[in-house]
């Protein structure tokens, strides 16, 4: 792999990040596979590049400028101060200057200046550029090397959120028939099967039954993983990966609700919270998100709880806006499993029922997923849960946690094999920070993080187990 492998967290204790030297085009060749017509057509997008794509793209751009304040303001006010240049994990990992958040945004601003400002129409001194084949190629490359993580916004004096810009650029590209195989395939699967992995309802049920048998053997308790239970109190919307790759998290939910004596269920119509519409366009974002509300109505539950998934939580926050008032459910809107557990802890529901020493084989550190930390205000809850159920909890360096957390390296629709070089490079800052702590368990509350981190930790040679916070909580819970 051609990326610089010197560790970038030089002395994290002193907040010393030393960014790599600029390496022009270092990641220019890392690109997603283009989408397949069968997927794009299934999700209401053009199957191939539309004729007049330039005009259509610019027309879409004009529409978004009218409809999105963030885009409109952020196109104008960047002063190119450079504060964000060393903040994006994809620059820190690759050294490619197009991965400076400001340069990523400039790809769009150049086009904006050409078509929407008097100076840009007139000349090139004002850094304007045509929306041509070459520019489109750059958009396709670098707007799919952004995980929409918003780390840059935290350091920008105006809070310029490159994630908003990336979302707008992807929306424009999608409208002219340019999208990626991974993202469109996943959205298509959600409509077909109800989840990102494409698990059919029967397999979901089978898996839940297997889990019940396993857990009963292990614990001797009749812990249930109910599916489509009409009239349950809680509809749990986990990331579908929890039922396959991260079963410990799924078991955690089961034990938790069993211990509390709460009737809960999952839905086969919608057993996925993770919303890949966020990485594609507004229309699909909205449609995917609506399935959650529909599922809750179909099952007549009292409330919806979102599981350990970062992008699901981002979608959850948008739910009342996208899909109408949630007044028919019990508040709060929306409700995250971490908030739920913290509430139960504070009510004393687990008093005398937690054996912290069950987790004594672990030194635990916590990775803030970008979406829960920077979009969803969930910074303290997971930490409170961990402190409640483990004896050895240790934080990573201050400049790498909470709102300054790094993206795992694969959010925003990048969790696909052909992007492996950029994923491993982008995963480097997180890996170095984990290494610094010496922890052997990396807890997090996002399914994408849980898929990416084991690979990036292995790549950067950091021996940790990756898992959920619920996994640890359930281990310590006395049933």
């Amino acid at each position: 792999m051609k990326f610089d492998e010197t560790p970038i967290v030089k002395d994290p204790a002193k907040e010393g990040l030393s960014p790599p030297n600029i390496r022009e085009n270092a990641s220019a060749a890392v690109r997603c596979y283009p989408s397949k017509p069968k997927d794009t057509q299934a999700i209401g997008l053009p199957g191939e590049r539309v004729p007049n794509w330039q005009e259509k793209g610019i027309a879409k751009f004009a529409e978004l400028l009218e409809k999105n304040k963030a885009l409109r303001v952020y196109m104008d006010i960047c002063v190119r101060c450079g504060a964000c240049t060393d903040k994006c994990q994809f620059y820190l990992g690759t050294g490619d200057p197009q991965n400076f958040p400001v340069m990523r945004a400039e790809l769009m601003r150049k086009v904006y200046r050409r078509y929407f400002t008097p100076a840009g129409r007139a000349n090139t001194l004002s850094e304007a550029a045509d929306f041509d084949e070459e520019m489109l190629e750059k958009w396709y490359t670098y707007f799919y090397q952004c995980s929409e993580c918003r780390r840059c916004s935290v350091f920008c004096p105006y809070g310029i959120d490159t994630a908003e810009i990336t979302m707008a650029a992807r929306e424009i590209m999608a409208s002219i028939g340019v999208s990626t195989k991974y993202v469109t395939e996943v959205v298509a699967k959600v409509y077909e099967r109800g989840n990102n992995l494409g698990i059919p309802p029967a397999a979901w049920k089978d898996n839940c039954e297997f889990l019940e048998q396993d857990v009963e053997e292990e614990t001797g308790k009749p812990i249930r993983f109910p599916v489509d239970d009409y009239g349950a109190d809680i509809l749990l919307v986990p990331p579908s990966a929890d039922n396959f790759a991260n079963v410990d998290t799924m078991i955690g939910y089961g034990k938790l609700f069993y211990a509390l004596g709460i009737r809960w269920t999952t839905s086969t119509y919608c057993n996925e919270g993770g919303n890949f519409g966020l990485f594609l366009n507004y229309q699909n974002l909205k449609k995917v998100n609506k399935r959650i509300i529909d599922a809750a109505r179909m099952l007549n539950v009292k409330t919806i709880i979102w599981g350990e998934c970062g992008h699901a939580w981002r979608g959850a926050i948008l739910t009342p806006t996208l899909n109408g008032p949630m007044d028919m459910f019990d508040p709060p809107y929306p409700y995250h499993i971490s908030q739920f557990i913290v509430k139960m802890i504070r009510q004393g529901a687990f008093e005398g029922r937690i054996d912290k020493s069950a987790n004594d084989d672990y030194i635990v550190t916590y990775h803030d997923p970008c979406n829960t930390a920077r979009a969803g205000q969930l910074l303290d809850e997971p930490r409170e849960i961990l402190r409640y159920c483990v004896n050895h909890f240790i934080e990573m360096p201050r400049n790498t946690i909470r709102e300054k957390t790094f993206c795992c390296g694969a959010g925003g629709g990048l969790l696909t094999d052909e992007l492996m070089p950029i994923r491993m490079a982008g995963g480097k800052p997180r890996a170095m920070a984990v290494k610094h702590t010496g922890a052997n368990y990396l807890a997090t509350i996002c399914a994408i993080c849980k898929a990416q981190l084991p690979e990036s930790m292995h790549y950067w040679d950091v021996p940790v187990k990756v898992g959920g916070t619920i996994d640890l909580f359930a281990r310590a819970l006395l049933l």
């Binding site: 600029i22 400028l65 009218e66 409809k67 999105n68 304040k69 963030a70 409109r72 303001v73 952020y74 104008d76 006010i77 002063v79 190119r80 101060c81 450079g82 964000c84 240049t85 060393d86 903040k87 200057p97 400076f100 400002t117 004002s126 850094e127 918003r150 935290v154 350091f155 920008c156 004096p157 105006y158 809070g159 310029i160 959120d161 908003e164 507004y282 909205k286 449609k287 998100n289 609506k290 509300i293 926050i317 948008l318 009342p320 806006t321 996208l322 899909n323 109408g324 008032p325 949630m326 007044d327 508040p331 709060p332 809107y333 929306p334 920077r374 969803g376 205000q377 910074l379 300054k404």
Partner: protein, 251 residues
């Protein structure tokens, strides 16, 4: 009339015209840009967390952004120091310039006189520092483009010519004031016939015309950044964030 007085009359007319044009550009350019920001909706909650959960808290967050640049402080202390001192000096200088626009001059403005030169130099020095930074740091050099240098050169020229006409090659303040008040009361008189002052004036007028159509608009845009000015209020029962252009539920 001899040729030189004809020429001077023409120059005066040019400056008076340009002054009005620049003022109109600044006012209407700014209003139309800011109105554009104001009327464009933000379709979904965009706030970057951790964020305050009340309107009041969100307002305080923006006020903090405007006054002390906390994000920049987190990002880069040296840049923060340069940028903050630069803006403070700029604010002080603009405030002191009120003496040319008001009659009688408020005593607070007059009391600036003792420190005015200090802020003038401070402004100049921070401009040099910010310019040096762009050239000396590889990442800053990489992202800097012609408009970035142009803005600094323009401000540098304004600072240098301003300090010179105030403290070294004195321009007659009474003339300056007569010119400005004349413009303001729509009874224009010729500008002071002081070449360096005319340089200062020209650069300022260029700045005024350039301002609303350039990155300098960050001065107004900072109030409209949804990532900063929204409260995090998703969870209030009965309250929800409405998208004005789409209130369907998503069928």
């Amino acid at each position: 009339m001899d040729t030189s007085s004809v020429l001077w009359t023409l120059i005066s007319i040019f400056y008076i015209g340009l002054s009005y044009f620049a003022a109109l550009c600044l006012i209407f350019g700014l209003l139309s840009k800011l109105y554009g920001y104001l009327r464009t909706p933000m379709p979904w909650p965009e706030v970057v967390t951790p964020a305050p959960e009340t309107e009041g808290g969100a307002i305080m967050r923006v006020v903090g952004d405007v006054l002390i640049f906390p994000n920049l402080f987190k990002a880069d202390k040296y840049l923060w120091a340069g940028a903050w001192v630069f803006h403070i000096a700029l604010a002080a200088i603009l405030f002191r310039h009120l003496r040319y626009f008001t009659y009688p001059v408020p005593s607070l403005v007059l009391s600036m006189e003792t420190v005015a030169l200090f802020f003038g130099y401070l402004f100049g020095v921070t401009i040099l520092y910010l310019f040096w930074r762009r050239l000396a740091l590889p990442r800053s050099l990489y992202i800097s483009n012609i408009p970035d240098y142009f803005a600094l050169v323009l401000l540098g020229g304004i600072a240098a010519s301003g300090i010179l006409v105030s403290y070294w090659l004195h321009v007659n303040i009474v003339d300056v004031k007569a010119y400005i008040l004349g413009l303001m009361t729509l009874r224009p008189t010729p500008p002071p016939a002081h070449p360096l002052f005319l340089v200062h004036l020209t650069l300022v007028l260029i700045l005024m015309i350039y301002f609303p159509f350039s990155k300098l608009l960050h001065a107004g845009g900072i109030f409209f950044s949804p990532a900063r000015n929204q409260p995090y209020q998703i969870q209030n029962p009965g309250h929800r964030y409405i998208n004005p252009w789409d209130q369907s539920v998503g069928d």
